[in-house]
């Protein structure tokens, strides 16, 4: 009797669950930094799916894609957190419900 190896679907399900938790965090939390961290979690779960496919299909393209996604998320972290620091100076809050400077 041989134990079957881990199917790609198992990793993809973990990715889907992490993505859903991140999306729930974005929709329900009102603290800007926690919303930001949830977005990072969603990006990370997509990375997991990309690596799974790249492993299942014997390809390196997924790994290169993950490399670029990580670069983009690092750039996003730098600019996004700078925006939070600036917003906090102007409005004294980072509650995303109270940040409505661009609404009219």
């Amino acid at each position: 009797m041989t134990i079957p190896s881990i199917p790609p679907a198992a990793y993809l399900i973990v990715g889907a669950v992490l993505f859903a938790i991140g999306a729930i965090g974005v929709l329900t939390r009102r603290n800007g930094i926690i919303v930001f961290m949830s977005i990072e979690l969603m990006l990370n779960s997509v990375n997991l799916s990309l690596i799974t496919f790249s492993h299942a299909l014997n390809s390196m393209d997924g790994i290169l894609f993950v490399f670029f996604v990580m670069t983009v998320s690092a750039a996003e972290a730098a600019v996004g957190l700078a925006i939070f620091v600036r917003l906090y100076r102007i409005k004294e809050t980072i509650n995303v419900d109270e940040i409505n400077l661009m609404k009219w």
């Binding site: 041989t2 134990i3 190896s5 881990i6 790609p8 198992a10 993809l12 399900i13 973990v14 889907a16 992490l18 993505f19 859903a20 938790i21 991140g22 999306a23 729930i24 929709l27 329900t28 009102r30 603290n31 930094i33 926690i34 930001f36 961290m37 990072e40 979690l41 990370n44 990375n47 997991l48 690596i51 496919f53 790249s54 299942a56 299909l57 014997n58 390809s59 390196m60 790994i63 290169l64 490399f67 670029f68 990580m70 670069t71 983009v72 998320s73 690092a74 750039a75 996003e76 972290a77 730098a78 600019v79 957190l81 700078a82 925006i83 939070f84 620091v85 600036r86 100076r89 809050t93």
Partner: protein
């Protein structure tokens, strides 16, 4: 045969352990009130995902995950949490509204849809980089070679993006002379 079985068994053990810890930590991350606790749980989730990357035979991405995500990005987030005073938001009660409930319901439906989509073998053309070949050549060597040949243009675009992000972050966070008392 027995050796193979034992190796697969331990792979399953590590997979189930890290996957359940990652999901548990991410749920805690979304539900914690204190942003610092959220950040620490998110770091734990990233480390668990790094172990999953190792199980998927991509050590390079696992190292980058620990360095860039769990190290650099989370350090930046923890620093900003430290700089901002968030006492008021900690004390405000958690509001539950109809729109939030509908949002959660929609996300759960999307998750269910994803569950049905992922079953079965992934379709698509199989590439040439089998795990044996990659481990023989060296993971980083293969990635570097592809990065500077096939993916040269995206690589250059990403470098421009990083420069723009650095300049943008400095311009945004700089204190303007007018604001100073």
């Amino acid at each position: 045969m027995l050796e193979h079985n034992i190796s697969i068994f331990f792979q399953w053990l590590i997979f189930l352990g890290t996957a359940s810890f990652a999901i548990l930590a991410s749920i805690l991350m979304v539900t914690q009130r204190n942003p610092i606790h959220s950040a620490l749980f998110l770091i734990f989730t990233f480390l668990c995902t790094a172990v999953l990357f190792l199980l998927l035979e991509s050590p390079f991405i696992a190292i980058i995950q620990v360095l860039v995500y769990a190290g650099a990005v989370m350090m930046l987030i923890v620093f900003v949490i430290m700089l901002l005073e968030l006492e008021r938001e900690l004390r405000s009660p958690l509001k539950i509204s109809l729109s939030k409930g509908l949002g959660v319901l929609t996300v759960l439906l999307v998750m269910l849809g994803l569950f049905f989509a992922v079953f079965g073998e992934p379709k698509g053309a199989s590439g040439e980089f089998t795990p044996e070949k990659v481990s023989q050549l060296g993971s980083i060597k293969v990635v570097g070679k592809l990065l500077f040949t096939e993916y040269l243009l995206p690589f250059e675009i990403v470098s421009i993006l990083l420069v723009a992000a650095i300049v943008g972050a400095i311009v945004l966070a700089k204190q303007r002379p007018l604001e100073r008392e």
